[in-house]
Amino acid sequence: MKVHQLELRINNEKRMVVVRSADTLLAVLRRNLGLTGAKPGCLNGDCGACTINVDRLPMKSCLMLAIECEGKEITTIEGMHNTPMQQAFVEHFAFQCGYCTSGFIMNAHSLIHNRPNADNQMMKEWLDSNICRCTGYEEIERAVKDVLRKNSQIQ
């Protein structure tokens, strides 16, 4: 079994890991690094529960190999501290069981960063890559719109 030693940049820290060629980033985050905020929901790219940010774009960590990630800037939910998106999710009750929440927040956080003027259609395109089975999505919509609105007021 071939293993590799990698240096990953995760949440502004350098982390050394030893991984198999076939290890997904999700597996390495959860098992090697104890970053269990990204969740396995399908391991097939269908649910978005494993979403993290790679170079500030949302990525499904179940669809990336850890060895692809050297030199990239990885942010997981554990790297988010009291961000407007987290606050909005709390305020608007944008989760119930919470299992999809890390993925949704990472996706939405990246959305407001990369597309600060996102309209409804763009929000749909971005947020459609995640599944929430508990809420009716309306609370999530309100949370994300709230942050978008507040941001545009600041500008």
Binding site: T76, E78, Q86, C97, K124, E139
Partner: protein
């Protein structure tokens, strides 16, 4: 009221938005072994051989388990081998279990196991199972142990149980009818698809102590069943449940816990984890029940329903587990929320070669509602009455009886006419049921009503313990599982309200373990707030009594003169004069050092009052405590050219009794509606002719996504249930119940043909329109 009614932020909110909330699979430690199932590729077949030689050669494989030496399991009927023996009865059934050092090795070993099958004829639907001479799924049905003596299985058939409702005089009822309609509806098995797949960890200590960590709605049931099935001492079994990533009934069944217990046993008690991959979660673990129903309804000239004859054939799948209870619950409320004096219902739990069923949010009621509400629309049409008015004049009310002859009163049933009136306005019913926009597109509306009681075990318990911290804050321990419903936050609100204190000074233990948390039977059936809430209020009385007793010594005053609020005990007539909880909650110390009292620990418990078993011949009995009623409305935009549609609006008005936490309650109702739209509109297992499921992935079994959500309208009516905490009724499931029916009604109007099959995919609608036989 101070706390009740306000949208208190969930106690675990910040854990959930920071990724620190822990679910079962998030627990890992050195030495943990991993199990992997080998599952059946056939729906019904004899296992001719299993070759494990290659798997056993792989270094790091610690055990390979095959069926044969384990007792049969199952809740109502012990009909299920934990690992298949001799033959398989559904696609996805476990046939072997491998334990290895890592998930990768376990999977590799599982893949190397060769299983050969000899196919048997497949029972591919409930209707087929019911036919005379049908292939038998269980040849030895009469020999199984069971705890269901009231509605036993019928050996020599595929009937796992037969529940009868016989109310009134059918002959007289039909004679009074001027219009009669009969409809057959069906819906196929589907899945809960909770985002967290099921996961369990087991470990057995040298002293025989069994520790199981599991994502479950029923850890206390896991403890009981492991004890019953395997003869283990109950006290030695400790089951822990951290946060659960959605459940919807699917985690009320006990399955992986059994497998992982056996796996740990096979490796000398070492800790073993078994986590479902999505495909296994869909195929192997219990799913959402299917139904083939026939409903005959008749009404008199004035549109008053006089008689109902209902036959339910539930597709319980290969093993009866919880399907027997689902069959009973469906019978108990079979008519939907309508006053009907003459009712005949046969509710059969059928064995088929499909994945077996566990509860699904609504516990048979969304399914039966689909059958009844489609027929209601057909009957309204025949009588020539507006469907909304027709429902209103037949709505069940205090003074009527249920199918099981429970007399309803102002407390045990909500106000359905009021719910209907609100839907009438919200959906703008008077504008017309269907409005053609152009050649192609129409807007169409459908409505439905539903109800539900919770047919849980009559002796189901719930308990609460309160302990104080030295600073006067309180810890609340309840066996309710936080599956996403926010019930534990609501419990804290109830306590804060009763003690008239700040809810932030109450800490809630989120995780449950069966050794130190008082039992809450199962976190199902929308009963958490009612039962645990009653226990909380009783525990509150207990601590108030203790606080006042010690304060009366300190303040040198009779107990009757004291009151409690804002974490203080004080004189009722002089509120400024008193003691803070922190001075007395851990005993009180006099200036000279003498001390009295000790840590205040309060408790409360609740058991449902006056429930009875159903009579085996007539169904008479009190199956549940109260009936929550709802009315629903749906508006669709329908394309007549290709039968595609978009749900524009979804409305639910529910008589909730009392809103305890507004945003949480709305979230529950909306979430349930979303689940209902998803299941009604698209979700089904696609079975091939051999009974195999062709779509066990979230890509092919696709729940509703963000962009597909309609506009939601949720409103509450508040008719208090007198014996419930602050009058609140169960509401966790009710947003879902009538949604499939309302969608089917709207689309039937739009398409101009009665749609009697779920899911309502365009192809099915097109076939119905064109009269193509499926």
């Amino acid at each position: 009221m101070r706390t009740v009614g306000s949208s208190v932020v969930r106690k675990e909110a910040w854990q959930k938005v920071t990724g620190t909330a822990k679910y079962t699979d998030d627990y890992a430690f050195a030495g943990l072994l991993h199990a992997k199932m080998v599952v059946s590729t056939m729906a019904h077949a004899i296992i001719t051989s299993i070759d494990t030689t290659e798997a056993e050669k792989i270094p790091g494989v610690r055990a390979v388990l095959l069926g044969g030496s384990y007792p049969l399991v199952g809740e109502a009927i012990r009909d299920r081998p934990p690992i298949a023996v001799g033959k398989v009865r559904y696609h996805g059934e476990p046939v072997a279990l491998v334990v290895a050092d890592s998930p990768v090795l376990a999977k590799k070993a599982a893949n190397s196991i060769q299983v050969l099958y000899e196919p048997l004829p497949v029972v591919n639907s409930a209707t087929q199972a019911f036919e005379a001479g049908a292939t038998l799924v269980h040849e030895k049905l009469g020999e199984y142990k069971r705890d269901n003596e009231i509605h036993p299985p019928i050996p020599g058939t595929n009937i796992a149980s037969h529940v009868k409702i016989r109310k009134g005089d059918m002959e007289k009822g039909w004679q009074e009818c001027d219009s009669v309609v009969e409809a057959s509806v069906s819906l196929s098995i589907s899945d809960h698809a909770a985002m967290e797949t099921r996961c369990s960890i087991a470990e057995i200590g040298p002293d025989g102590k069994i520790k199981i960590t599991t994502s479950s709605q029923a850890p206390f049931m896991v403890k009981r069943l492991i004890s019953q099935y395997f003869g283990e001492d109950m006290g030695k079994i400790v089951v822990e449940t951290p946060l659960v990533g959605g459940a919807f009934g699917g985690k009320a069944a006990v399955q992986l816990e059994i497998l992982v217990y056996l796996a740990s046993k096979a490796v000398g008690g070492r800790p073993v984890k078994l986590r479902n991959e999505r495909e296994e979660d869909i195929l192997t673990s219990p799913c959402h029940i299917g139904l083939d129903a026939t409903v005959k309804l008749g009404s008199d000239r004035h549109g008053k329903i006089k008689a109902a004859n209902i036959r339910f054939l539930w597709d319980g799948g290969a093993y009866s587990d919880k399907a027997v209870d689902l069959t009973r619950a469906g019978a108990a409320d079979c008519t939907g929320p309508y006053a009907i004096d003459n009712v005949w219902c046969d509710s059969y739990c059928m064995y088929t070669n499909h994945p077996y069923a566990s509860p699904f949010r609504g516990f048979s009621h969304s399914e039966l509602s689909f059958a009844i509400e489609r027929t209601m629309d057909l009957l309204a049409e025949k009588v020539g009455m507006d469907p909304l008015t027709f429902r209103k004049i037949n709505a069940i009310m205090p003074g009527n009886t249920t199918p099981t002859r429970v007399l309803l009163n102002n407390s045990n049933v909500g106000n359905l006419p009021k719910c209907i009136e609100r839907v009438h306005e919200l959906i703008q019913w008077d504008e017309g049921e269907m409005i053609a926009l152009d050649e192609r597109f129409v807007r169409a509306k459908g409505i439905s009503c539903s109800w539900k009681t919770s047919t849980i075990d009559p002796d189901a318990p719930s308990g609460v313990i309160l302990t104080f911290n030295p600073d006067g804050t309180i810890n609340l321990m309840s066996g309710v599982i936080e599956i996403g419903t926010g019930t534990k936050t609501v419990l804290a609100q109830l306590l804060a309200e009763r003690l008239n204190m700040d809810v932030n000074n109450i800490y809630v233990k989120m995780d449950v373990d069966t050794q130190t948390t008082p039992e809450h039977w199962k976190t199902v059936a929308s009963r958490g707030t009612f039962m645990a809430g009653k226990a909380v209020l009783q525990a509150a009385e207990d601590v108030i009594r203790q606080l006042k007793a010690i304060a009366s010594c300190v303040l040198r005053a009779p107990i009757e003169d004291l009151d409690v609020a804002d974490s203080r005990v004080f004189f009722r007539d002089d509120p400024g004069n008193g003691v803070h909880f922190k001075e007395i909650a851990y005993g009180y110390q006099y200036p000279n050092g003498n001390s009295i009292g000790g840590q205040i620990i309060g408790h409360g418990h609740y058991i449902l009052r006056g429930l009875t078993h159903m009579n085996p011949e007539t169904g008479e009995g009190r199956p549940g405590p109260e009936w929550t009623v709802t009315a629903h409305g749906i508006e669709v935009l329908f394309d007549r050219r290709d039968c595609t549609y978009k749900v524009l609006k979804a409305i639910t008005v529910v008589d909730i009794g009392k809103v305890l936490n507004d945003k949480a309650a709305r979230g529950q109702v909306m979430g349930a509606m979303s689940l209902g739209l998803s299941f009604a509109g698209r979700e089904t297992f696609v079975f091939d002719s051999l009974g195999r499921v062709r779509n066990p992935q979230l890509r092919t079994y696709r729940p509703l996504h963000y962009s597909e959500a309609p506009e939601y309208m949720v409103e509450f009516v508040e008719t208090p249930q007198i014996d419930a905490p602050y009058g609140a009724r169960g509401v966790g499931e009710h947003g879902l119940l009538g949604i499939p029916a309302a969608l089917a009604n709207a689309l039937s109007t739009a398409a101009g043909v009665s749609l009697q099959k779920l899911p309502l995919v365009p192809e099915m609608i097109w076939k119905a329109k064109e009269h193509v036989r499926p």
